[in-house]
Symmetry: C2
Subunit: 219 residues, 2 copies
C-alpha cells in the first residue's frame, strides 16, 4: 500500500520504519523536502522509502498518517494541501501538546473542541480518523510490547474509514480487532486527547512509557 | 470513625450508606439542614447517621468526603467553612463537570488548573486528597463489582494524608493497596479530572458505567 507519513519525529520514524519493513511504499513528508530527520530515516531504513515535502507525501499516499507534533498539525496539513488529502483516510496520531511553558505540557485545544475536530472541520473532504494517540509509539507498532489485552480507542465521522484504518493499519501493526474500541464520531477525540495529561502522570508514576490501559468490566 | 459526607446526590448517598452500614458515624451535609435528599437517605439508612448543613457536617467529621457536584464544590466548601475543614483530610470525589450546555458535559476548569488544585489553594490548611473520581460510585464502594485488578489513581500534596485516605477509606471500601496508584501532588488532579471526557465516551461505547481501567505494562 502507498502510505504517506507526515512528520519526521520519533512517531513518524517508528511507524514509517515498521511500514517499510513490511513492504509498504512509504513517503515521509516534512516542511522541507530534504529535512535532517527525513535524511537520517532514509539512510537507516532501506526498502521502498522516499522523503519529500508534506505536499509530495500527501499526494503519494493512499492513506495518510499524520505523525506531526500536534501543536503544529494544522499548519503541516495546510502545507500538505486539501487537494492532496481529498477523499483519503487521514489517521491522526498526534496530540495537541504545548510544551512552550515546560513540562507537564498543556493542550492547545481541549474541553469543547479537539485537534481531531479542528482537522475534520478544516478538511471536510478528508476522512479523519483519530487513533493510536493514547500510547507510546513503540506500543503503537507492536502492541505485544505490553502484556495481554489492552485497548486502542478510535473515533471518526466516517464508519468505513474507521474500519479501513483499523484493518489496514492498526491490525496490521498487531492490534487484535477485539481490542480496538470505536468511540463514535470525531468528537470522541476530546476524550482521547484529554487523556494525555493522565497518560503523562501514569508514565511518571510507572517510570516507563511502555504501558497501556485495559478496560475491565462489571459482571 | 466520624465521617462527614458533603452532598446528598447519588455519590454521597452511595458512600454514606456503605459507611453507616460499616458502623461509621456519618453526618451528611447539604446546603440546607433538612434537604429532601438528606431526609430520604436518613429514612433508608438507619444506623449512626444524621443530616445537617455543610458546616455542621464538616465540623463533625474527622475525615470529610466531598461528594458535591464538582461544578458547585467550591461554593459548598465555602459554606462548610475553612475553620471546620482546617487540618482535616478532605477526599474530593467530584469532577468539575458542566452540563449547562447539555451532554457531553465540558469541564469548568481544566488543562492548566483543576478543581483539586483550586480547592487546595482556597483551603491551604486542609489536606486535600483527590481520589475515587475516576469511577462510578458503585465501583467506588465495591471495587469487586469489576472483575480482577483495576487502578485507583490518587493524588495530593500531603503524603500522610494520601496514605490515611487510602488506608482508612479506599482500602476499607475494598481497594487492594497494590491497585491504589499515587500520581504525586495535587496537580495530578488535572490528569484524573481530564480523564472524565474519555470515561464518559467509554461508558457510551460499553453501554454501562460499571467498568474501570487497569494499567497493563511492558515486559
Amino acid at each position: 500500500m502507498k502510505i504517506a507519513i507526515l512528520g519526521t519525529g520519533m512517531v513518524g520514524v517508528a511507524l514509517g520504519t515498521k511500514l517499510v519493513q513490511g513492504k509498504h511504499d512509504v513517503v515521509m513528508g516534512s516542511r522541507t523536502a530534504n529535512s535532517e530527520g527525513g535524511r537520517k530515516w532514509l539512510e537507516s531504513v532501506g526498502g521502498n522509502a522516499r522523503t519529500g515535502t508534506f505536499s509530495e507525501a500527501a499526494a503519494f499516499g493512499e492513506i495518510v498518517i499524520d505523525c506531526t507534533n500536534g501543536a503544529n498539525s494544522l499548519a503541516a496539513l495546510r502545507l500538505a494541501g486539501a487537494e492532496n488529502l481529498r477523499g483519503k483516510i487521514l489517521i491522526q496520531v498526534g496530540n495537541p501538546l504545548d510544551f512552550s511553558n515546560g513540562s507537564p505540557p498543556s493542550l492547545t485545544v481541549c474541553n469543547t473542541d479537539s485537534l481531531g475536530e479542528q482537522t475534520q472541520r478544516e478538511f471536510p473532504e478528508t476522512r479523519v480518523v483519530k487513533a493510536l494517540n493514547t500510547i507510546n509509539c513503540e506500543v503503537m507498532i507492536n502492541p505485544a510490547r505490553v502484556s495481554g489485552d489492552h485497548v486502542l480507542p478510535i473515533c471518526g465521522n466516517d464508519a468505513r474509514a474507521k474500519s479501513e484504518a483499523a484493518a489496514r493499519l492498526c491490525e496490521w501493526f498487531g492490534w487484535k480487532p477485539s481490542n480496538i474500541l470505536d468511540l463514535g464520531d470525531i468528537t470522541g477525540a476530546r476524550g482521547t486527547e484529554m487523556y494525555l495529561p493522565l497518560w503523562l502522570r501514569l508514565w511518571g508514576a510507572l517510570g516507563s512509557p511502555i504501558f497501556n490501559i485495559q478496560i475491565v468490566r462489571g459482571e
